[in-house]
């Protein structure tokens, strides 16, 4: 430690040239994190949807792209209406949704407790992290042939793909969330008399719940992807199956209609989980 004035650093700074000054950039709409007006937000939002949609309308109406490749919006709507009226669409939507509920539901039931185990106990981390860390890099779609050999062509192999595709990510994401529970919160709970199980139930889980819902929301989107992949192989119903079938008959308009349905359901799930998250995580906002 320097204490005496005698050891002061000699002031050679007088010999230095002044530091060059930079001109200060103006604040614009593209300054990082700068707020933009409500009107600008609305315009950008509308444009982001209107531009691709108009491009679609113009391209298909002009005849630049044949209708077999790019059906006009009107054809897509009527194809959608057609499948809806015949009752086909309802069956497909329900079949696909049921598969997601079963496969992804099972994955959530396994991954959330496992993730809590890994996040809360170092032993859990040491025991599961290496295997799960490896397995998550194996693409679920690569398991399809193997699962067909193991489980046959029916429902079990489709549910298994969904499960494999989501369980590992959801486990690791849950474990991360649980590891984020502040240490003082756990320590103080012990000093208030809580036992291990009570700390898990009354502190670790409530603190992690919003983050776990976030993980589920991200992986629900993945599940929705995997179910369509699973249905491309040997199905007799489902939205993925409907797409393959429409392709066989070159019904591009129907493919588009099913894609729209898939998108709408996806957004609905996302919004629903966002609402749940907002409710559960009110304390964190």
């Amino acid at each position: 430690m320097r204490t005496a004035l005698a050891d002061r650093t000699p002031d050679v700074r007088t010999t230095w040239p002044p530091l060059p000054r930079r001109t200060r950039p103006r604040r614009t709409a593209l300054t990082i994190r700068t707020p933009i007006s409500r009107r600008a937000t609305t315009i950008l939002t509308v444009l982001s949807l209107a531009v691709p949609f108009s491009a679609w309308v113009v391209l298909s109406a002009s005849g630049a792209v044949p209708a077999t490749f790019l059906p006009p919006p009107g054809a897509v709507v009527s194809a959608g209406w057609e499948t809806a009226r015949s009752g086909e669409l309802a069956v497909d939507v329900w079949t696909t949704t049921r598969r997601v509920l079963q496969g992804f539901g099972l994955a959530v039931l396994v991954s959330v407790p496992l993730g809590i185990l890994m996040g809360a106990f170092q032993a859990g981390q040491a025991a599961f992290e290496p295997l799960i860390g490896l397995l998550r890099y194996l693409p679920a779609s690569a398991f399809i042939p193997l699962l067909i050999i193991w489980l046959g062509l029916g429902e079990p192999s489709k549910i298994a793909i969904l499960f494999i595709g989501t369980v590992f990510f959801n486990t690791l994401m849950t474990a991360d969330v649980v590891r984020g529970v502040p240490r003082p919160l756990i320590d103080v709970s012990y000093t208030l008399g809580a036992r291990r199980g009570e700390v898990l139930r009354k502190v670790v889980v409530p603190h992690s719940l919003p983050g776990i819902i976030d993980a589920v929301r991200v992986n629900a989107a993945a599940a929705w992807n995997f179910v369509v992949v699973a249905e491309l192989v040997n199905s007799t119903a489902g939205l993925g199956y409907r797409i393959v079938r429409a392709q066989r008959f070159l019904q591009t308009d129907k493919i588009f209609a099913v894609l729209v349905v898939i998108g709408v359901i996806g957004v609905t799930i996302d919004v629903a989980l966002r609402l749940v998250r907002a409710r559960v995580g009110r304390w964190a906002a």
């Binding site: 430690m1 320590d187 012990y190 000093t191 809580a194 502190v203 603190h207 964190a284």
Partner: protein
């Protein structure tokens, strides 16, 4: 209740954080431990709380060795230890919810400590809606409602602005007088230690060890004006010198 540390040492790997600390806290005492950073103040408190075990030596409460954390030694951290999803009253009720108590009995106790700490008006608020001082009051009430033998305070006012800090000092003194609890408080603020303590222990750094003990000969009934009296200023200056000597040796 008598808390006794006998030859307590704590090593982290190769580093010796505490070296042969002997300390006794008597019933009804308000003992302040001061020391520069690196003097092992917080380590000392974690050991007493039972969150860590000493490498050598023994810590006893009324002759019984400490084996782990428990509600008989309530702990308050500097900040960030409230349950953010629980309202003020449910934070305070946490320890009682773990016991076989009927709701009326629990509420009665929670109510008393909310009133004592001046939190009755914000009882249904979430912690993030509270000021820093209010948050620390919740943490103190939450520890006290479990009726600890000793209240452990780890730099409880270290993150507060000066005015709030003085308000909190008055509050904790009042609580100490009202409840008759024993307090062991760790701080780097010598003025705070002398104002609050009945006794001040100075730790020296690297490794942490007891450098000095000073009895505070001020009246039990103190207000902020005492901080300007010559007796207080002299005592404060001499303790500050001890802390500084403890650093440079």
């Amino acid at each position: 209740m008598t808390l006794a540390l006998t030859d307590v040492s704590k090593e982290y790997g190769q580093k010796l954080a505490l070296d042969g600390v002997n300390l006794t806290v008597s019933p009804r005492e308000f003992l302040c431990v001061v020391g520069a950073s690196g003097s092992g103040k917080s380590t000392l408190l974690s050991l007493v709380a039972g969150l860590m075990m000493p490498t050598t030596g023994e810590i006893t409460v009324d002759g019984h060795p400490i084996t782990g954390p428990g509600p008989d030694r309530g702990l308050v951290f500097q900040n960030g230890s409230l349950y953010p999803w629980r309202t003020v009253e449910r934070n305070v009720a946490f320890g009682l919810e773990l016991l076989a108590l009927d709701t009326a009995e629990r509420d009665r106790r929670v109510d008393w400590y909310l009133a004592e700490t001046g939190l009755a008006g914000v009882r249904r608020s979430l912690p993030r809606r509270l000021s820093g001082g209010q948050q620390q009051r919740v943490a103190i009430a939450r520890a006290l409602v479990c009726e600890p033998d000793v209240l452990l305070l780890d730099e409880p006012f270290g993150a507060l602005d000066v005015q709030t800090k003085e308000d909190m000092q008055l509050l904790i003194r009042q609580i100490w007088l009202d409840t008759g609890t024993t307090v062991l408080m760790v701080t780097h603020d010598v003025e705070e230690a002398v104002f609050l303590g009945t006794r001040v222990v100075v730790l020296a750094s690297d490794p942490g060890r007891v450098a000095a003990e000073v009895r505070v000969p001020l009246a039990e009934d103190r207000d902020l004006a005492v901080k300007r009296t010559p007796a207080f200023l002299a005592l404060r200056a001499s303790v500050e010198d001890m802390v500084r000597c403890g650093v440079t040796r």
